[in-house]
Symmetry: C2
Subunit: 204 residues, 2 copies
């Protein structure tokens, strides 16, 4: 996340529509999986929603850990923990929320491939153009020059805490932080949400 990025707050309704779109594309390709692998943490909700639409009962978790920028200047992703269940001989769909650099999904697909599935495909709700990796299926493409930080409904409070703490550098207090988020991030948040995080985040 750059310091105070332009943001787009995704709603649950966006999320459901993206899951519909991905599922349609998978069905359209005649490629029903029997196992869906969800990447932690971003892929858990998308994978559950896609599994529901495709009638897939087997969900397996795979942990993809992004190293922080301070740790690795390249922002490299590394898989620090394995799969929560076997995938050999399975028709696997690996699901994540967004291909930002594409590295998490590329690594996850390589990791699953090494576990000898019958087939492995991948899906993301959102795909950033020119990511290093293009998922087999995605719901929406975001052009690289239109890049925004997508605030997913399952990451809203964490993103808000991070952004609000940074916004406080431009002036403290709930109203001031709220204005900064609106002006610099295009993020309109209810006053009550900032009041709620104020005991835990130094914004006042």
């Amino acid at each position: 996340m750059v310091d105070l990025p332009r943001c787009r707050r995704a709603t649950w309704s966006d999320t459901d529509a993206w899951a519909d779109r991905v599922a349609e594309r998978v069905r359209g390709a005649g490629a029903l999986p029997d196992t869906i692998v969800g990447l932690t943490r971003g892929g858990w909700v998308p994978s559950r929603l896609v599994a529901d639409r495709l009638g897939v009962k087997r969900l397996v978790s795979l942990r993809a850990q992004h190293w922080g920028v301070t740790a690795t200047p390249t922002g490299a992703a590394e898989l620090t923990e394995g799969l929560s269940g076997p995938v050999d001989g399975r028709r696997v769909l690996v699901v994540d929320d967004i291909t930002d650099t594409g590295e998490s999904l590329a690594l996850a697909v390589a990791h699953v491939t090494a576990a000898r599935p019958e087939r492995v495909e991948s899906a993301a709700f959102l795909h950033i153009s020119q990511a290093k990796f293009t998922p087999t299926y995605y719901a929406e493409e975001i052009p690289r020059d239109g890049w925004v930080w997508v605030v997913f409904p399952w990451n809203y409070w964490e993103d808000l805490a991070t952004l609000a703490a940074r916004a406080a550098a431009f002036g403290r207090g709930v109203d001031r932080v709220r204005a900064t988020l609106r002006e610099r991030c295009a993020l309109d948040v209810p006053r009550g949400d900032l009041e709620r995080i104020a005991p835990f985040v130094p914004i006042e």
Copy 2:
């Protein structure tokens, strides 16, 4: 699921409110976890939402497999796959959507306990009174005599397919099935949703 149960369709807004409630109770108890264990499949979305509110970055999956009624007359639950990551020495919160019989969550807690965490607590969005197991935290209690089948937003299409197929036994066709779902399950579904599943589910 009994044949055609009374249902309550939960919205994303319900879900967010339940996650808020559970997180408040965990904070209120001063019991912040450092690891959240989400049960597949029902616990993945709740665990992600609770993790967001508590600022917990470590999500571990645990598979709890309900055997079908035909397989075990008791409807017993069994953990068929392990944890996706280590939990020894961790402060763990195990999260599921609902304690129906309570057996999944009880088994999950026992399984996690055997992996020697520093502490293990549990949470469910909904708790059915008189379940065999009472989670440490829950957002809402459903009295046993007010039992309904809760249709969660991450299980909507699968529940709809199951219920619609059963409803078709009372008469086929989208309109007839829709009326049966409304009358017998108290479930009001858009006509378009039944049209969408009609190619895959024998309701016509």
